[in-house]
């Protein structure tokens, strides 16, 4: 049982007063004055100063200092009255001065102990010495917040696990966890796997699962989890606190999956059966249309442009003459559909010509609201119209042909007339 004496309080007050008067004090100092019997000890935190002998006559006393009550003393000092000795305690220092010795059933020594720069949490006389002192450790809780993914997209789920592991040398008792509020940008799934936050004891080396949450990302951005904190005590009821790690999650917007556009690709070609013809010969041209795209075409128009010097004669039944232009119209043209349209032209005049086929159509690409309009054209290679076998004759003035013809007709008419004149019966 530790008991502070009135004297000690006075000393403390005087020291405080001195400190106040002397200006600023940067280090903590504590003072203890006790009368300790042989065999007893004085405990400062986990250090115990045992009084092993008191020599009245010699006015000496022997002190041994033990740490955590284990093994050999770290200090073994015999000092006379008004003598002192020091030893380190952590970062601080403890000085013990022998004030007096007294006799009795058991001899006793009065001591004055000065503790500098030590955060004391346990002080007092220990009957029986260091073997009977109560020692305490330091529970250290490593609280970790872990996530199963560190990057995710909106709508994805992340599993958040908070564990607390006691990596100290004393158990943590009366542990209370403080769960941070829900992270902005996430929504908490209904399912909470584990959640126990009060009156928890965590033994040294044990790991305690605080909770497991499932979050759903609702916003894109980079989010850092707020820490889960805990307050707890060690076995000596000393208070501690701890805070968890704070992982960061990057949430990205979900990739917009593009719907592939479809195309109607009408390949157009025009072939002719002969590139060199004589005048008045006929040329057969064939229009080939094939949809190599992945969408059907609609409102397909094919215009056949016949140059002057060539003359349209006829062709496929699908070819119509509209305003003097041969045209083909198809309401629809399916994928991979292929059609051929032959037609014939007559080479009326000498020259070099090409046949042009113009194509226009529409299609729905499956994405845009408006139908897509496409036009293209194909042009044949040059067609050479040469003089015909009888062109030399045909180049003569018309009367050259008409006059003999008229003469022949007149002769024939005359012969017919004469034949009728001389016919009988």
């Amino acid at each position: 049982m530790v008991k502070l004496s009135r004297t000690f309080l006075l000393v403390v007050c005087s020291i405080v007063l001195l400190t106040m008067l002397s200006g600023s004090a940067t280090a903590s100092v504590e003072y203890f004055e006790e009368e300790i019997k042989i065999g007893d000890g004085y405990q400062i935190n986990n250090y115990v100063i045992d009084v092993t002998d008191v020599f009245i006559t010699d006015k000496l006393a022997v002190f041994k200092v033990y740490e955590n009550g284990d093994g050999e003393p770290i200090h073994d000092e015999m000092i006379g009255i008004n003598e002192s000795f020091k030893f380190d305690l952590g970062n601080g220092e403890v000085e013990l001065k022998l004030l007096s010795v007294g006799s009795g059933v058991l001899n006793r020594a009065s001591v004055f102990i000065t503790v500098r720069n030590v955060d004391t949490y346990l002080t007092g006389i220990v009957n029986g010495g260091h073997e009977y002192a109560t020692y305490s450790g330091t529970p250290i809780l490593e609280i970790t917040t872990t996530v199963d993914v560190d990057t995710m997209v909106i709508g994805d789920f992340v599993k958040v696990t908070v564990n607390a592991k006691n990596v100290g040398d004393d158990k943590a008792v009366d542990v209370r966890f403080f769960i941070p509020p829900r992270l902005e940008g996430f929504s908490l799934d209904d399912e909470v796997l584990e959640l126990t936050v009060d009156d928890v004891t965590i033994e040294v080396g044990n790991t305690y699962r605080v909770y497991v949450y499932i979050y759903e990302a609702t916003n894109e951005g980079s989010f850092t989890f707020k820490p889960t904190t805990a307050i707890f005590q060690n076995s000596a009821e000393v208070d501690f606190e701890a805070s968890s790690t704070t992982p960061t999650i990057t949430v990205t917007a979900p990739e917009v999956q593009e719907v592939p556009k479809k195309n109607a690709v009408l390949e157009l070609s025009t072939d002719v059966d002969s590139m060199i013809v004589e005048r008045n010969d006929k040329i057969t041209a064939t229009i080939n249309v094939k949809n190599t795209g992945d969408a059907p075409a609609s409102a397909v128009w094919i215009n056949i442009i016949i140059p002057q010097g060539l003359e349209y004669v006829g062709g496929d039944s699908a070819i119509e003459i509209i305003s003097g232009v041969p045209k083909i119209y198809m309401g629809s043209f399916g994928v991979q559909q292929e059609k051929e349209y032959p037609y014939t032209v007559k080479a009326s005049e000498l020259g070099t010509y090409t046949l042009t086929t113009k194509l226009a159509y529409e299609y729905d690409d499956g994405v845009e609201a408006e139908t897509q309009k496409v036009s293209n054209e194909s042009v044949t290679e040059s067609i050479y119209v040469q003089k015909g076998k009888y062109d030399e004759l045909l180049e003569q003035p018309i009367y050259v042909y008409l006059l003999p013809l008229m003469v022949i007709v007149m002769i024939a008419a005359w012969i017919y007339h004469r034949h009728n004149q001389y016919k009988f019966g």
Binding site: W414, I415, R418, H419, N420, Q421, Y422, K423, F424, G425
Partner: protein, 368 residues
């Protein structure tokens, strides 16, 4: 320009008209009608009449509208009596055809004297023409081969008599018997005779309507034809080489140049001589000498000269006859023929007597 009517009756008349039309085209081929024009100086209307349609069909150079078919079986079978009846029945048809051709200055009717249709139609047609019109009408009559048969001979005899009674202004004779000297087969002989007659008539028609160095005209022709016994013939010569006109005249008046065998210096009454050719051949002295020689024998001779540059001399002589010894011979043969036909007819009637003998067997049957 003269308006001349030419009618050919029967097969012979048809063919001579066709030959005239052919030669008028100037071409030698049958196609001449298709490319040539007839070279008549005058307006010449040719008409052929026949009861045999096949005879009309075989014509090549006569217009269809000029071929008048008188339907009666396929001819009258050389029977002039039947022919006369048929003509009477179809007279209006024939005369209407002639009427439709307009006005004429002279008419020629050509026929064979021996056939059926021609020999019977011609005298009656001439009679009708003379009754209806006032233009002179001359008959050109072709006499048969003497050996052609009794029917033909008697037809010729009666035809000539009827012709004389018809009022014809003259009869120009052509004699097949005399012309057979042309030789060749029977068809080529007939064609040659027809062509020969056609050539002379064309020359005559040309001469009647030509401008001449010395003029002869239709009036002269009428005067010539009025002379003699109403019979006439034509002499003709066409040189095919350089021949003096004197020789040409002599050849035209010689038997080889005449259509009917006669001695012109003995039997001719009047004459008309037309000479045509390049003026280098037309020696007036020679012509006068020959004409004088003829006129001293026959009386008056009309002469005409037509100049045709580059042509060899041609001579046509129209001669009327006071007498025709050859015709008398013909009639003598014809009379024999008539008797012969009569005898045959009697024999045929005798066969009828035989029929009477057969008739005794009527109602009887042989018994065995």
């Amino acid at each position: 320009m003269l308006n001349i009517l030419m009618v050919g009756n029967g097969q012979c008349g048809n063919r001579i008209i066709d030959a005239i039309n052919k030669q008028a085209f100037g071409g030698k081929t049958k196609f001449a009608k298709f490319y040539s024009k007839q070279k008549f100086k005058s307006r010449v209307e040719t008409i052929v009449v026949n009861t045999a349609i096949n005879d009309l069909k075989e014509l090549k150079h006569t217009k269809g509208r000029d071929r008048i078919h008188i339907p009666h079986l396929h001819g009258v079978g050389a029977n002039r009596n039947v022919g006369k009846t048929v003509f009477i029945e179809n007279k209006d048809l024939i005369m209407r055809q002639i009427e439709d051709r307009g006005r004429f200055d002279v008419g020629f009717v050509i026929t064979s004297a021996s056939g059926g249709t021609g020999s019977s139609f011609t005298p009656m047609l001439i009679k009708e023409l003379k009754e209806r019109y006032d233009f002179p009408v001359y008959a050109i009559v072709v006499l048969p081969f003497r050996e052609e048969g009794t029917l033909y001979l008697q037809n010729a005899a009666f035809c000539l008599r009827d012709m004389r009674d018809s009022g014809a202004d003259g009869v120009i004779l052509a004699d097949n018997q005399f012309l057979k000297q042309l030789g060749g087969d029977i068809e080529s002989a007939y064609n040659g005779i027809n062509d020969m007659i056609a050539e002379r008539i064309l020359f005559l028609l040309d001469a009647l309507d030509s401008e001449m160095m010395m003029v002869t005209d239709l009036g002269d022709f009428k005067t010539v034809m009025d002379g003699g016994a109403g019979l006439a013939t034509i002499g003709f010569y066409k040189a095919d080489k350089d021949v003096p006109v004197k020789t040409a005249i002599q050849k035209a008046l010689s038997p080889s140049g005449l259509l009917f065998s006669t001695n012109v210096y003995d039997e001719a009454s009047r004459a008309m001589i037309i000479i045509k050719g390049d003026k280098s051949y037309l020696s007036i002295d020679d012509i006068s000498n020959e004409v004088e020689k003829l006129s001293s024998a026959v009386g008056h001779v009309f002469k005409g000269i037509i100049v045709r540059n580059g042509e060899y001399p041609q001579v046509l002589a129209v001669l009327t006859l006071e007498s025709a010894s050859e015709l008398e011979k013909l009639y003598a043969i014809a009379v024999d023929a008539i008797h012969h036909e009569r005898d045959k007819k009697i024999r045929v009637e005798d066969k009828k007597e035989l029929d009477k003998a057969f008739s005794q067997l009527d109602d009887l049957e042989p018994h065995y």
